[in-house]
Symmetry: C2
Subunit: 615 residues, 2 copies
């Protein structure tokens, strides 16, 4: 009898359930979800954001953010529900130390509760229920679950939803579980993670000009390779005699059914009009790819899964076309195909909206952070090693217009060891504002993100960009550089009006680094062998890495003077003395943001909610 | 009319008040305290702990701890109430960033609320009211306020009550305030701080033997000097032919009326029976004090304000008397007389309870932590510099009995820069247990504290003692040593059975420190002057202190091998190799204790409570 009920549940025919007292719970409140079905604000408002959770796309997440309530509304479509779902968040997408909403089923009915997992992945009911189920409704497509969760709950077991990347986790339960704690997460096959920026900025959509045109830069019926990761490169070109225009908006064009496979798309402009770029259509890492495509690095558009259309502020646009710019564009599409599906033909790409009526300001992109140089390195075995790059007052003073610039968007960038990136604006020795920060940064999820509020940078301001790295799985030094196994620490800031300052980055003074090598080698061994003609990378590789060598390197980076790259677009430095510059002094830190916990609603459930399905 | 009411309030004649809506508060709930007056658990139970808050003793704090509820019950007697009281807790006793319960008065009545102060000392009503008023009762002695507060509230504005020292703050309001936020704390004259251990261990009181005797070691009618700080020394002696006894308990004997002045009392035994110690009765820092009194350093008893009687576990006692120990005792009383009161005669001291029926085990005292040596130093300008001393596996293996020892009490010790002390037991590379830890440690409040649970230390275990220091107000290096401006990092652990191991401490290998001096001097300057015959202290003073020198010293201390002092009572090392020992490896940390927040009581007040006085 009980067995039959399980079976019938998988077809979602249960219409009534019996309230039961669970001794494991101090308080057990039944919340009849049906009673909440009346017209509510959540149901009237739409869900502007959407992302598939799993590679098949059988779990669709829709969400909306209420900044006034400090709450995220989640709506999940489960196309093929069996016995339940785990949906949650964790620091880096693990199922251990995670915060979860769980829908599970036993012979008594279906239950929805707020749970957490410990270091070993064991599930526990949360003493404070902060995922609040609002609706559970069966439809032709599948089961829709509607629930909400405050950004901050002040429950130490809960994940704090912050700006930046959130690692969402999901798992589909394929059998009944009598209790929540009997669920063995490690045994679930159909589980995974998805990265999104949950707290999208709540900005008004800028108006498009009346004469707006659009062009699509799309993959030409590409046969998606049956492998997990493919970066596809496709060269296209602008019409001849295409004059200077402003891109004012762009949006993704995803081939239907490929929403869960197309991971990110970028459109680059090639370096100069003088080169002819050969036509190419194939994997970006192919040996057949012409070398000259490497010059196609000027970003025109970048989209990643979960992102919406990107609008330039009404007063600015990104210039393209005209005699000084290349006609050639490179489309790059990252296909993420872990199920190695075969025979899929894809035409995804980006639709650019542009106008010939130029806006007031050209928008620009500037690099702040660290110079790509091996002098900035991360010792092996580090859990959380920080590197910091500076855009100094001297450089902004030299290069920015007197009215300053306004940064409206930002793309954070590291290679594989990056775990966090932030850029802070410092004015007169005091931290003034966060430009962009992502404490759960992943190198696998690099979006151009609109800032909630444009940041005004004046001549004389300092921008401090810090990246944290994890090298616990590495045995050798990781140096700064271009290879994917080298590291970078960069923030591409999007701003207007465009200036001649292309990059404002720093690195440690190389002479001080030589002092460091001399010191640690002497300390660690009595016979010091210093070969004067070796490279910095080689010198780093010869250091015996231990807590002392690593600690002293950290001390060096936070003390030694820096070499500034304060460069024009032509890759030439602005005039001035840029070597052995003092590290910017920061005398006052930004206060840590107050944790605003919602006032507890006394009527809020203290235990799991019995789910009554609505059909 | 309003004015008269204020005056009448100072005589506490208000019997009725009018409920009013305060627009500043989202919710305003009136809690008629009178209705809570019925016989309750709190009122039946007594308040075992007591301390005066102010030097006059006009504010008496009584408290009790419920470990089952995780709540502290506070009862404050305000002998001369004018317009209210602020009582609270903060990290180090400041009125900024503090957590407060406030009783304030305006023309509408008296109000009690949970508040917090910001960095500038401005008061704000707390959104979550966690100080819960239970009773306010007028009596002949003054007004009694009874309220309670959970250890942890999970409100980020609230102080977390932990084991160890708590800095209590108090301020008496001497005029009415229309609102809480209008209170200017900096303008209040009658305010201060008092340090206590709030979370006293809840241990059953051991039985005293039937043949217990007692003797009092008391000050002989000392005229308390009219100055803020006096350490009074008084020599007394045991009877002739006093055989070996066990001290099983001791308690303070405070002269009536001096409860707020007698800050701490210690009884020391002098070094050996062979010396004759001259009689002395005077300040401990007097030039007239005989040198030989400095040998009186073996602690027999130590009491500090707020502490209760100290009981030895039933199976052990502290040996004194007998042919091998000195007959001479030194009493030390710390008088804290900030009001510089004159003419007070004091006979405070300690009453020792002892027995000639020796218990099974002699108790012992062992020092763990850092060697008193200048090689362990703290750079100037440090906010939070950590020094760590080790009692290594090799030493415990050599010196402890195979059944190990049981530590039942502990006294943490640093000099003036100390801000935190902890000792962790490490077994097989894993942190196993906290021996004693005080994150709000103050060098002005050094008690012998009973442990909540005795810690069993086995041969091969490691004890790691770490101290954090603040030298932000210092311009020069602080080295390890005996002077009050030098530093120490020691935990005196009380244990049984007594062993021959008197101290188990470490310091950095002096050879590695020399490497450090060479390195940082070379790094910081090109002309290196190393005078070979100088002292370590001098070498430290010559280092140019900056973030690099300090950072490298920190790296040195966490990497370089150590020199172990694994010493017998005779101050001779146990046999073995104790130089250039490896730092103990700790592969697994203790998990941070879960913050257990009380389930919110929906009926709990969301705003201040209107106070109805009971007479």
């Amino acid at each position: 009898m009980a067995k039959r009920r399980f079976c019938s549940f998988s077809n979602l025919r249960i219409r009534e359930v019996v309230p039961v007292y669970f001794t494991m719970l101090a308080v057990f409140m039944i919340l009849l979800v049906a009673s909440l079905q009346g017209p509510s604000r959540q149901q009237k408002s739409s869900f502007p954001y959407q992302v598939p959770l799993d590679p098949q796309g059988s779990l669709q997440l829709y969400w909306n953010v209420s900044y006034s309530e400090k709450v995220v509304y989640f709506r999940i479509l489960i196309k093929d529900l069996k016995f339940g779902l785990i949906f949650g968040m964790s620091d880096r997408g693990d199922f251990e130390d995670a915060d979860m909403a769980v829908l599970w089923t036993n012979e008594l009915g279906s239950f929805f509760g707020d749970a957490w997992s410990d270091q070993k992945g064991q599930l526990h009911m949360d003493s404070q229920q902060d995922y609040e189920l609002l609706n559970a409704q069966q439809s032709q497509e599948g089961l829709y679950l509607l629930f909400r969760r405050p950004f901050a709950t002040c429950d130490p077991k809960d994940y704090l939803i912050e700006d930046g990347t959130v690692h969402l986790i999901y798992a589909l339960l394929e059998k009944p579980f009598s209790t929540l704690s009997s669920i063995d997460v490690s045994a679930i096959k159909n589980r995974g993670l998805q990265r999104v920026q949950l707290l999208k900025p709540d900005l008004p959509i800028p108006r498009l000009p009346a004469d707006v045109l659009n062009m699509e830069v799309r993959a030409p019926q590409v046969l998606i390779p049956a492998k997990e990761t493919t970066y596809w490169c496709h060269i296209t070109e602008l019409p001849k005699d295409f004059t200077k225009h402003h891109i004012v908006m762009y949006e993704p064009v995803i081939t239907k059914g490929h929403e869960a496979i197309v991971h990110h798309i970028e459109v680059f402009q090639c370096a100069s009009n003088y080169y002819t770029i050969p036509r190419y259509d194939g994997p970006c890492d192919s040996k057949m790819k012409p070398q000259s495509l490497n010059s196609c690095r000027h970003v025109l558009a970048a989209w990643a899964m979960g992102a919406k259309a990107f609008y330039y502020p009404e007063e600015s646009g990104l210039a393209f076309g005209g005699p000084d710019s290349s006609r050639y564009l490179r489309l790059e599409v990252h296909y993420h195909n872990p199920l190695e599906l075969k025979g899929l033909r894809d035409s995804s790409g980006i639709r650019l909206y542009y106008t010939s009526t130029l806006r007031r300001y050209d928008a620009g992109i500037m690099e702040v952070g660290l110079v790509y140089s091996p002098v900035m390195a991360i010792p092996p075995g580090q859990k959380d090693f920080l590197l910091t790059g500076y855009c100094t007052d001297k450089c902004t003073d030299r290069a920015l217009p007197s009215n300053g610039i306004r940064i409206f968007a930002s793309q954070l960038h590291t290679h594989l060891a990056g775990r966090g990136v932030s850029t802070i604006l410092v004015r007169e020795g005091k931290e003034a504002e966060v430009v962009n920060a992502d404490g759960h940064y992943s190198p696998h999820f690099q979006e151009i993100r609109m800032l909630k509020k444009a940041v005004h940078v004046l001549p004389g301001d300092v921008m401090v960009t810090s990246c944290s790295y994890n090298t616990e799985d590495r045995k050798n030094i990781t140096v700064g550089g271009f290879s994917i196994t080298d590291e970078m620490c960069v923030n591409y800031v999007h701003y207007y009006p465009r200036t001649d300052l292309e990059l404002c980055k720093s690195m440690v003074d190389p002479g001080y680094l030589q002092k460091y090598f001399h010191m640690v080698n002497r300390f660690n061994s009595d016979d010091v062998s210093t070969s004067p003609n070796t490279t910095v990378t080689k010198q780093f590789q010869e250091v015996p890495w231990n807590s002392f060598s690593a600690g002293v390197l950290k001390s060096l980076y936070s003390f030694a003077p820096i070499s500034m790259h304060c460069n024009r677009s032509s890759a030439v430095r602005f005039p001035g003395e840029w070597e052995k510059q003092p590290l910017p002094q920061i005398n006052e830190k930004l206060p840590s943001p107050p944790a605003t916990c919602p006032a507890m609603d006394p009527a809020k459930s203290k235990g799991p909610t019995l789910v009554r399905l609505l059909q």
